[in-house]
């Protein structure tokens, strides 16, 4: 880089301050919007992936006429006999309307001694020493535990059962999931309590969770299950995880992003095309040529101008987006992206830095802007200078 040309680019920009400030503001807004959208989607994707990790290899649910119905637990006995199935068990979970927070809590009934929970339960759950001796208990995410403590000032919570009676469960412990949403809305209980709270009769379950020894056999076993139980819907973990990625209205988010990028880029191109070829700029390029600047020198000057503007915008937009998304929790945009899950309690977006997408945004916007500046300058630099000076 020639320091002289770089300094000239700076001086030249200060001379056309208002134009560059306008472009800087537009480019900063464009990057701010893109970065914010990427931070939110990366956050939500991370948030949803935490939950999908706990999904069984295969889920068998009862679906009739598009309605999800309870499945008979007796089917576990048939499923367990399929070669390759390591473990199968009925699952009890559902949503419990918590009016105070105007949100739904996810109630999950678990057997802490069950094969899939035994190891992780010890690590994840804090202060649960009495759990083995209690018949009824509940464990909450630590954020929900704090909320309940703040509201009721006691280590117990009364659930309203579908028949109108109440079931009081002592808070036997808390857990700290990576997921903020889980932390704020998940309640683990013993199986019997979950069934009572969610109104699941004996002999029925929400789904049958199937665990497979060899992951490569998952699809084959899923096919067998579909044949064995044609009245059920059999979903593999891979399919469920794929659908989870759509949970936060990704498609509409990406549409908005593409739309915004196109709109703003178009705006910048139009502005620069219109402003870049005015008489004054053509005269300036002609003068530079007259004093010995080659077309490549002129392109370098314009490139430095572009670079200075783009990097300034990047340096401004990135911290602003971080502040907007992670400090003030992206007002407006967050609710657009969360979409359907408005019934869930408010949660803090976990910090994720999608470096690839950030770099991609920079690479997608800056060359377009640079081309819009450099191409007219190049055209002016190879045309007859005398024409512009006359």
């Amino acid at each position: 880089m020639k320091a002289g040309l770089f300094e000239f680019a700076l001086c030249s920009m200060s001379g056309r301050r208002s134009k560059f400030i306008f472009v800087y503001i537009i480019l900063t807004l464009l990057m701010l919007l893109c970065f914010s959208v990427f931070f939110i989607t990366a956050s939500l994707r991370a948030e949803s992936s935490y939950g999908s990790e706990a999904v069984p290899d295969i889920s068998v649910t009862m679906n009739r006429g598009g309605r999800n119905e309870l499945i008979s637990t007796s089917r576990v006995d048939d499923i367990i006999l399929i070669p390759g199935v390591q473990y199968a068990e009925p699952a009890y979970f559902g949503l419990y309307r918590f009016d105070y927070l105007k949100a739904n809590l996810t109630v999950v009934g678990i057997d802490p001694f069950a094969q899939q929970y035994a190891q992780s339960f010890e690590k994840a759950v804090k202060r649960h020493k009495n759990i083995l001796t209690q018949e009824r208990w509940m464990i909450t995410g630590n954020k929900l535990a704090d909320t309940l403590k703040a509201i009721y000032n006691r280590d117990a919570f009364s659930f309203a059962k579908p028949d109108g009676t109440y079931l009081e469960l002592p808070v036997a412990g808390t857990f700290s999931p990576q997921s903020q949403l889980m932390s704020a809305s998940t309640v683990l209980t013993d199986v019997e309590s979950a069934k009572e709270i969610l109104g699941i009769p004996d002999g029925k379950a929400v789904q049958i969770s199937v665990y497979v020894g060899n992951p490569e056999e998952t699809d084959t076993i899923a096919q067998k299950l579909s044949v064995m139980f044609p009245d059920t819907e059999v979903t593999t973990k891979a399919v469920k995880q794929a659908s989870v990625s759509n949970l936060f209205d990704f498609s509409s988010g990406i549409f908005m992003l593409v739309f915004s990028v196109s709109l703003f880029t178009f705006f910048i191109i139009v502005f620069d095309r219109a402003a870049g070829l005015n008489m004054e700029e053509r005269r300036e390029i002609a003068v530079l040529k007259a004093v010995g600047y080659t077309p490549s020198d002129i392109i370098k000057v314009r490139f430095y101008e572009t670079l200075i503007t783009a990097i300034s915008s990047f340096i401004t937009a990135l911290p602003l987006a971080l502040f907007y998304v992670y400090c003030v929790q992206a007002p407006l945009l967050k609710s657009i992206f969360i979409g359907y899950s408005y019934m869930r309690p408010d949660f803090v977006l976990p910090f994720v830095f999608p470096a690839k997408e950030i770099a991609l945004t920079f690479m997608a916007t800056v060359p377009v802007y640079a081309a819009a500046v450099i191409i007219p300058a190049w055209r002016a630099s190879v045309t007859d200078a005398q024409e512009s000076l006359r």
Partner: protein
């Protein structure tokens, strides 16, 4: 030296120069004289390779310039030609010093050395005290001297001046002629396009070339 052989320049609907020839030896000072529209500015532009002739041959400082590609034409100007425009063509938003240094910026001369050379030249022309002033805020005479300093900063063997006195009063014209005498004394080839009789009759020219259509 500047040599034009049967040069014609046509624009879309105008032909400012037709079958024009001239020969100015190295170190000579020549005046292009003629009324407005007689092609003086076009001759200077052709000599500086700012535009190409429609036909004919041009040789400046032992270089054939008529068909030089843009990149080489710019390098030729950087090395061989200094131009003083009628309306100065300064960068009005840059300081005086930045304007004078402008031709040196793309060269390999260290930045500090560029500044020192520009400052020395400005001192010689009596405008050193305006180094930090924005060019657009200076008077016509001051701008004229900045334009001269900018034209000389690359130490070119050929200097071209287009109507240099058109915006100057008698006193400033006298100063300018002194500066031109200095340029001539340095052994540079000087070509001045003017219709100002004061310049024509000043005795500075070794040769007067009439450009009548």
């Amino acid at each position: 030296m500047i040599k034009f052989t049967s040069v014609t320049k046509k624009y879309k609907d105008v032909t400012p120069l037709e079958n024009f020839s001239m020969d100015i030896a190295a170190g000579e000072t020549a005046i292009l004289s003629g009324r407005s529209g007689s092609g003086k500015t076009t001759i200077l532009a052709l000599a500086a390779a700012l535009t190409r002739p429609t036909s004919g041959n041009i040789e400046v400082n032992s270089k054939q310039t008529a068909k030089l590609p843009e990149e080489f034409a710019s390098l030729f100007r950087r090395e061989s030609v200094g131009i003083i425009f009628q309306n100065y063509n300064l960068m009005p938003n840059l300081t005086t010093l930045d304007n004078v240094t402008l031709p040196l910026l793309p060269t390999k001369i260290p930045f500090r050395q560029q500044r020192e050379r520009a400052f020395a030249l400005m001192e010689k022309l009596g405008i050193a005290d305006k180094a930090k002033t924005i060019a657009g805020r200076l008077s016509g005479g001051e701008q004229q001297r900045i334009a001269i300093a900018r034209a000389l900063i690359n130490n070119p063997p050929v200097v071209l001046a287009d109507e240099p006195t058109s915006n100057l009063d008698a006193k400033l014209t006298e100063n300018l002629l002194e500066i031109f005498a200095g340029i001539k004394a340095e052994g540079r080839t000087l070509l001045i396009a003017t219709h100002d009789k004061v310049v024509t009759e000043s005795g500075i020219a070794d040769k007067i070339i009439r450009t009548e259509l």
